[in-house]
């Protein structure tokens, strides 16, 4: 017990998130908000409203994920023939044409990663809600992973943007972005925000409370 150092929270201290200035935490968490005396950023002990924000964003991402996958992300018009592809049908088409590496890449970036991210965030949120004490280290690692891989999903969007911009040969071939692409971009962006608004320290707070009870 004595080995465990006191946490900043116990000492009513908080570091400014912008300039890392050590400040005294505001007395009343529901009272007036603290402002960093040096840089003027908000000083909070935990990200404010973290759980609610994350939940809201995750929920929004779930909702938009449905149209993102069901609606066409891209319409290729070549020789007057329009062909709309959803993400999955695009992957299928890539497999059919033998482009395995690209198919895998697109599948990973567009299907696996967003789904994994959403599920992981949901898992973290639920575990925090349930005050789970299970393996906080792994959960924190999971969170870090989510933050890192999140932007990879934008590969698809970048690819479509480039195609739309490049392939505008009027009658021979044009590529149009579909509404699915917009939804998909929204999903990726919203999950990035959701991951950001989640405060991983919440995972550890439970353990600290438990320590108090001991």
């Amino acid at each position: 017990m004595s080995a465990a150092p006191a946490t900043a929270m116990e000492r009513a201290l908080v570091a400014c998130h912008s300039c890392e200035l050590l400040c005294q935490a505001p007395r009343d968490p529901d009272g007036p908000r603290g402002i960093c005396p040096r840089c003027g950023a908000a000083v909070e002990q935990r990200k404010p409203n973290s759980l609610a924000r994350s939940w809201a964003l995750v929920l929004a991402a779930y909702i938009l994920y449905v149209p993102a996958n069901l609606l066409p992300v891209m319409t290729v018009v070549s020789f007057g023939k329009a062909e709309s592809d959803t993400i999955l049908s695009g992957v299928k088409a890539l497999i059919a044409s033998g482009d395995w590496p690209i198919a895998v890449l697109v599948f990973l970036a567009s299907i696996t990663i967003p789904v994994a991210k959403l599920l992981a965030l949901t898992f973290l949120l639920i575990s925090v809600h349930l005050k789970s004490r299970w393996d906080p280290k792994d959960r924190t690692r999971l969170y870090r992973m989510i933050e890192v891989i999140g932007r990879w999903s934008m590969i698809d969007i970048f690819m479509i943007s480039i195609l739309v911009a490049l392939i505008t040969l009027k009658n021979i071939a044009t590529v149009q972005a579909g509404i699915g692409a917009i939804c998909f971009a929204a999903v990726v962006i919203i999950t990035i925000f959701a991951a950001q608004s989640f405060d991983p320290r919440l995972i550890w707070d439970v353990l600290e409370e438990g320590k108090d009870n001991d």
Binding site: C23, A52, A56, V66, I190
Partner: protein, 540 residues
């Protein structure tokens, strides 16, 4: 704990405070709400744009590709094939397709689907665009009870889409070289096509469905005759009369059906009327208008057949139209028609004899005599006739004569002077007898050469045949034959020949002639186009 408190860092800045805006409802929840709204809107839009799903059964899925094959209606995309599956018993395939939502109210069991594939035959190339774009399924609306399951056709329905075209049914024993798409010809003009045929299970005749396109369907009357105009007809009827008959090169290649109307076309045929399909072109339809119709009675047929010539001085002046037994089977009735130009040759005391074959008579005292009317008559058969020099009167159409087996010697000596009017423009009994004809009142008798008004009396003899002809008309005459130079008298006599009576004052305005006349007791107002002789009659 005190120990840890002691470790409080010396420099912990006190943060400034800032009032917190506090609500029970965090603004962040607007994001999923917005997402839900957007998602809901997208879902609504997608679902509302989603057309009806249909299943179509086809014999084969050749050229059909899920997600690629389109359903086209008049060249517009009306849907797309979602999936193609074989039926459970593997007997056919079922195509699942989504149509555009506009077609939703038009889906009923009258709708037709068929696969359009490139088709290249001797006479036509169609569906070439499918070589590039792939086969597609064509859609044709119809009427019936709403349904979502359809049976696709193997071949396109010919009357694709146009209700103005008219369908008729022909019955025939054999199809010959006819096929779907074979042309229907009227005087060599393609006016329609064969849309299909059905082979009945039993021995009943085949039914061939034809479609006659819009303006031409009026040509099909209730008494129209259809015949199979496929291929080449080579008639080696006799030594002198080999003929090769081809309706058109197109019909030679892919078969065809031709039709023609008799001289007096009946009322327009209703859609779906059934006709018999004749094997060959019928003999030129004959009617009283075409000449003087007579009946010959004979004990035996003696190799006479329809189409045999009627000979006067071995010159053909008429034709045997029909042979058959009379009502009581006591004799053979031959219906013959004498060409209008020669109708005057027949009088009430004319004798007819059978000129077919060889009459050989052997007698001990006079030796053998062989009597052949003509080589042609020998081969063809035929009927000859002669008219005495004196005492005959003009005959009415339908008059009955006896057909003798052989002529008497003196018949051949008869040589009456009968004036023929071969230049007659009417073609209806315009012949007058100059020397002794009781029916003739004038020796001029011409129609075209009587420009003096009031001279219509001169045509009295000519009218004998014409009036009678008119009484046999079943319908109002619709045209009058006019010579290049029309005079009032000519017109009057022509109209009288056609059966009009009580002809009133004639008014001419440009090429159109207006007049009043009675026809079969009905007062009519006539409008005659002098350029083509067309008559339009309206009640008065």
């Amino acid at each position: 704990m005190t120990e840890s408190e002691a470790k409080q860092p010396p420099r912990a800045s006190a943060p400034k405070v800032h009032p917190r805006s506090h609500g029970r409802f965090s603004i962040v929840w607007l994001i999923p709400l917005g997402a839900a709204l957007v998602g809901g809107w997208l879902a609504y839009r997608t679902i509302s744009e989603q057309g009806p799903s249909v299943t179509i059964a086809f014999e084969t899925a050749d050229g059909l590709e899920a997600g690629k094959t389109k359903i086209l209606f008049k060249g517009l995309q009306a849907g797309i094939v979602d999936a193609v599956h074989a039926t459970e018993d593997l007997s056919s395939v079922v195509v699942y397709a989504t149509l555009i939502k506009e077609l939703k109210p038009h889906l009923n069991d009258g709708v037709r689907f068929w696969v359009v594939r490139p088709e290249i035959s001797l006479t036509r190339v169609s569906g070439l665009d499918t070589l590039v774009s792939g086969d597609f399924i064509a859609f044709q609306p119809g009427t019936g009870t709403p349904t979502r399951t359809f049976k696709g056709l193997d071949k396109p329905p010919v009357e694709a889409g146009d209700a103005k075209h008219r369908k008729f049914v022909l019955r025939t024993e054999t199809l010959g070289s006819l096929d779907r798409g074979s042309p229907v010809l009227y005087r060599g003009v393609t006016v329609g096509e064969v849309s299909g045929y059905t082979l009945p299970d039993d021995d009943k005749p085949l039914t061939v469905d034809i479609v006659v396109h819009d303006p031409h369907h009026k040509l099909v009357r209730e008494n129209t005759r259809f015949w199979n105009a496929s291929g080449i007809k080579f008639n080696m009827g006799d030594l002198f009369d080999a003929s090769l008959e081809v309706e058109s090169l197109k019909s030679l290649l892919e078969g065809g059906i031709a039709f023609a109307n008799p001289a007096e076309p009946g009322p327009a045929a209703k859609p779906g009327t059934a006709f018999a399909l004749l094997d060959e072109k019928p003999a030129k339809p004959r009617s009283a208008k075409d000449g003087l119709a007579l009946v010959l009675k004979s004990a035996n047929l003696r190799s006479v057949k329809a189409g045999d010539p009627i000979l006067y001085r071995e010159f053909q002046v008429g034709t045997v139209v029909e042979v058959g037994l009379d009502a009581e089977a006591t004799s053979v009735d031959l219906k013959i028609v004498i060409e209008p130009d020669y109708a005057a040759l027949v009088e009430t005391n004319t004798v007819f004899w059978n000129a077919s074959g060889i009459n050989a008579s052997f007698s001990l005292f006079s030796g053998a005599s062989i009597d052949i009317e003509s080589l042609r008559a020998l081969l063809d058969g035929g009927i000859a006739f002669a008219t005495p020099d004196q005492g005959g009167r003009a005959v009415k159409p339908g008059a009955v004569f006896t057909l003798y087996d052989r002529p008497k010697e003196e018949w051949r000596a008869w040589a009456p002077h009968i004036r023929l009017h071969k230049d007659s423009p009417t073609g209806t009994g315009a012949a007058a007898k100059s020397d002794s004809g009781a029916g003739a009142k004038s020796d001029t008798g011409t129609v075209s050469e009587s420009p003096v008004p009031g001279d219509s009396q001169a045509t009295g003899a000519a009218r004998d045949g014409g009036d009678a002809a008119a009484t046999e008309l079943s319908g109002l005459p619709t045209s009058v034959t006019l010579p290049g130079h029309v005079t009032t008298a000519v017109l009057e006599s022509q109209l009288r020949d056609l059966g009009y009576a009580n002809i009133g004052a004639i008014e001419k305005s440009g090429a159109i002639i207006h007049l009043h006349a009675d026809w079969q007791g009905k007062p009519l107002k006539l409008r005659i186009d002098s350029r083509d002789g067309a008559i339009q009659a309206t009640g008065r």
